[in-house]
Symmetry: D4
Subunit: 223 residues, 8 copies
């Protein structure tokens, strides 16, 4: 059995669920990733990669559009991003930016514009209040926050749109690894917040795309 037998690309995914196949690079060897890219290249397909460390990227034989902050890469043709931004991505602190950028890059790969708003955590509430109208103007809001993750609760009490919280692993002591942030957003007293896995900016962007899909479907149901 060769490396080629170790993967099965899911090119039918967009038709089924409206989201393209993505390669989670963290658990794969450079040899496996190169074989996957070769298979996609033969088919003329493009691919999005997440959690690609700089070292592993350097070991790959294929050309990629790589972003070291978000550790994401695009193989093949990029998408044109156009129109108003339906999604706001809010990062509680500067340290949460990599996760926010992962979400931004995921949306851009799908041709969706997003507005990134950083360092508006609740320790200085005026920073959030200054940007609140801007955030409220977006139908879908992603909030990335670590440590106590109080920001999603505050935003959840002020913003009516779809709200997707991404806890981050930023912090130390009880905050280390992000479980405290995760539990805080799950236990939020603000109603209707939904949550993704820790540091999962990619998943938050996919969830946002599912909301956009739902909106199109609802328009068809009651035009």
């Amino acid at each position: 059995m060769s490396v080629a037998d170790e993967f099965t690309l899911d090119f039918a995914r967009p038709e089924r669920i409206g989201l393209e196949e993505t390669i989670y690079a963290a658990g794969k060897s450079a040899e496996q990733i190169d074989a996957i890219l070769a298979a996609a290249g033969e088919r003329g397909a493009r691919l999005f990669l997440t959690r690609l460390d700089p070292e592993k990227r350097a070991a790959l034989r294929h050309d990629l559009d790589y972003c070291p902050v978000s550790r994401t890469a695009v193989f093949g043709r990029p998408n044109a991003v156009s129109g108003a931004a339906p999604v706001a991505i809010v990062a509680a602190g500067t340290s949460d930016v990599p996760v926010a950028r992962e979400a931004e890059r995921t949306l851009a790969y799908a041709g969706i514009r997003a507005t990134l708003i950083a360092d508006v955590g609740v320790a200085g509430l005026w920073r959030l209040q200054r940007r609140l109208d801007e955030i409220r103007a977006h139908p879908v809001v992603i909030v990335a926050a670590g440590m106590d993750a109080a920001l999603p609760s505050v935003v959840g009490g002020l913003v009516p749109g779809a709200l997707i919280a991404v806890p981050t692993s930023v912090g130390y002591g009880v905050a280390e690894g992000g479980r405290a942030a995760l539990d805080a957003v799950l236990a939020s007293c603000a109603p209707g917040i939904t949550v993704c896995n820790i540091d999962n900016g990619y998943g938050a962007a996919c969830a946002a795309m599912r909301v956009l899909h739902a909106a199109r479907a609802l328009r068809e149901l009651s035009p």
Copy 2:
């Protein structure tokens, strides 16, 4: 300081975030809840109550439309439910029905119809496959599942709409309390699934309403 000083009702919430004030009954005494209901009654306002045990309900002085399965209650005038159902609520097992019913009652209180589909867990996959087209026809899908919570992952690979998973506390051993189910849906290999707190059918319904709000806002952005 009297009981009347122990609560501050948030009647401005619908204007801010499109969701009505709700009373979480589990942590409150019957005396506190009666005082809250009296204050709402004076104002001519209605209220929705969650996690109201039969014993506590029996101790209340006010009339309520009570559902013992979901332990929810409506104080004041119900809403008329009309139109096509934009939301499907899928319960993996029969034991997950109370959580699903809490979501259903929350949506009904807001006048939103939902389709409840029960006992389609993955141990007998044909049960899901038989109902798949029906589920896919809904723009928003809530999935309540306990134990291994494998159903949201399978649904997430087959349905394109907004997908809100509610892990439940059903089960024993490692499943007890719902942490295993919660972690499973957070770690799902299907992209774009969002998650609520364990047993939080109310929150899932609120999240669904946020998606419906986002859809209306998106229509205004690009009509």
Copy 3:
């Protein structure tokens, strides 16, 4: 060895640390508590009791000033409460009131007035903003909050005084037992928040009294 050998009252505590001996009733039998009260009575001493369930209180032979909300009791003469309130006790939700009342009763036993402000959680931020000046007027602020415990972080970014957070066990799912609230306040992004054990309103009041003691000592250091 009799019950009388099973306890050793610490009547020298006020001289050492400025706080009176207190009886933690939860782990003691009614027989033990009655023996303790008898010993204090013989000495002409008064005592404060915490975590005294109504059932156990009913089984006691001694007279007590009992508060069922906070489950605290005073044996012996109460203290006169006078002067301005140096301490504000803020309860995030109505469900956090019992813990706040335990802190209030502990302070009152020591003759210290406190201002209790309830149900100002961040899900409706206007409720906090309406009371903010009042809270800021107190040199010491205790904040009791469960679930995501976002309120202490927000207060910590707005109030300069000594800030003591008490996580509560209010909530279900990941919030159950209060570990999520505890971790959130420990990981708070607002600087200088200190934390007590879950549901420990008594300890928060003692910490406030330590701050008042420190203030007196500082005045002696630099009058």
Copy 4:
């Protein structure tokens, strides 16, 4: 006491339980492993090694048949693998292949053929359905899966044979370390799934060999 006193090889194990002695290399120094190999060599015995890092292998003085993907090694004569494959090894994702390969190598060392089927996770259910008949044709099925580990539950509802799940540590956030995957398979709603320790491909292969032994014993009981 010398290094030679630090180990006691269990060469009687095959007679007792039908499985050969194996060296768990992770907790041993290169010096200890070399001494063990020398002792086996003197006796003319062969040995299987698991969890042997490339660095430690490079530090060994003895020749080994080493596989860097599964980090296993064979010291001494390999076994001839023959006959139909009684065991299928299913890897949910490409990242689970190293664990699957550890199981495959363990079985091969014992002369047992296995069929490896990779990347058939539930996010794209068609991939599993395409291979289902092939999997069902094997009396014993090992399933390695990380993250939400939903695949064993789905397979468990479709396949009648002995089913051994191996949770893997693949993933991040709540999935990191494999506890989420482990709990999911333990809590599986599909009946009769058994579980090994996280990443324990070796143990899964041994469990499969125990099933093969049981089959032989059953044939003797009722020929």
Copy 5:
């Protein structure tokens, strides 16, 4: 939607995986269970029930063959148990007997005889040694053990057959709930032990039946 819509019985399960549909009673209301039994009765089908508390059983309208020790019940015709016992069920202590009995009743429902051997924990090793030959004579061995769960490891080093460990929740302190026993058997130094969820005697019996199925399939592969 009525109670009848809240369940979907999986009568095709025996054909798919060789195991009959079973009702997990713990998470279901008496009303739901009665509806399920009525549906089975109409179809002329029998059913097995697990985790049925005496109180809930008393609330049911249907006749059942109930065992209070294992809290299992049979609805409909029992199976004739015949032939030699292919399965040994070993209970480490007297306190583990209820879990062992659940496994025994599950097998008996399927017509499979089992030998129950109780109170042979390692604290008095002679008890195990006295019964060892008897245990070894069974191709499949289930071991139920709580607390430190050392027995499965010892048995695993002495018995060659398929070995299924069921950790139990017996014990207090660190043993409470069974997580210590579970982790011990997962981490066992004896190779090839497989594990079920805590207290899951039912699942262990199903796993044993999967081994018996595999044995039949292997006989067909190489007759």
Copy 6:
């Protein structure tokens, strides 16, 4: 969006809560930190940095007053430290000194003198008793302790001032990471101890400054 958009400095913090903006360096890239320092420099502002590893510090372009033991740095003009020390910082063991130094440096940055007393853990109680009068002379006492963190409880029974415990991550086995120390101080039997996050010397110093602020405010309330 450039790096300059990734942070929003909170220069209004001293007016709001009496504490200066501080940069948590651990989660930020050298590029981000340099941009923050440049922005502060343009404004003529100074900054305090915590958790700055030597490697990251070496990668910065700006000049800093750096302390490798506490991993803190001062950018801009230092403060003159004067007057009697209102704060004692007690380190249980030599290994807790880095955390104690972080608190000391934070206070010095604000112009507050502190007395550091090291290695007086309870295993040799005479060491504490020798320094007890000195510790009691300080109105505010910070105690940094790892492992079993018994020292704060002993100090709490002997010292009347404000008592801030900082659990440290010193230790191995159950002590690793500091959760055991954290839980011990939260569960302390000595009344009125408050707690900061693990290893959070910075937060303890901020809490001490809040006590000093409260003392000034109390003097204004009752002069």
Copy 7:
């Protein structure tokens, strides 16, 4: 199989390890316990029972010498207790007395006198210091402590004898269940403390008897 097959009494235990067979009543039914007592009675043997709730005791048919505080019982002839007390049992608080009494009763059953010293926790260190010489006079010291369990560390720094710590489940919040106390004593900075399971007064007494056995054996080694 009858109840008589569900237990195997280990009457050879005293010869093997010097400790008598004991019945852990918590996990056994009244029917099982009565059968065990009958079997012992037939043999003329006595038995010690632990964790026997008053309700279960009331359901037994046999006569017992029962202690409701420690929930222990003696079946058969008691032992005469004589000589100096080689063991001191120290209870940190009044709430820890039940665990201390379990140890005391276990030793008394074996004919060993013990000195019980209660309520000498570190919050009021003078209480311990007053009794220190008395404690030091015992070669073996058992310390039962809950919450932060600081007492064993302090005693461990002052007393040279064999030191056995028993964490108790006394407390709430992070202390609930005793894990905080357990981790504190395991992580103790005082050298040579050994630890038993939470609330395991019986085990601590057995450990003390093992020390007494070791002392006798040492005397034989070097008389």
Copy 8:
């Protein structure tokens, strides 16, 4: 404040508790350790060091008798080891030898001989049985075991002496870090086993020395 203020050596410890001061090197800098050694050298005192990594040892200026397996070091004159060995140190597997060696070196530093018996884990019970008489001949037995840590339970049922279990961090998956081994020995069904922190060979040796001290004290009590 200089490095010399960061430590306070406890040279009075032997008189108080019969154990010498020891330096825990893991949490200290090379600069701190060198200062400590210099202070001891000036006083003519010797010191024992634990958890000294080879890298840190290489950075020290002082001469030491260093053992890389146990990572311990002796500064100053060694002790003559003489007489029969009162302590047996049993290592379950070869991977547990470093912890066993730490105990052996600690005892040797105090002049106490110990017998080390390695790789006698329960997976091959004959290995233990072959050495059982030898183990039983020692009044004090230390057992180091990782993974499932079943060996202490088996030994505890066969050996009457003082029994000190040291769980080790050997293993992966649920065994990683040693919590599974720790919980298993705490929950042991064999009576009277005491437990030290994970990997704490040093503490086990100190506990053994406390038993030897108790034996001497008992001889004085009843000569």
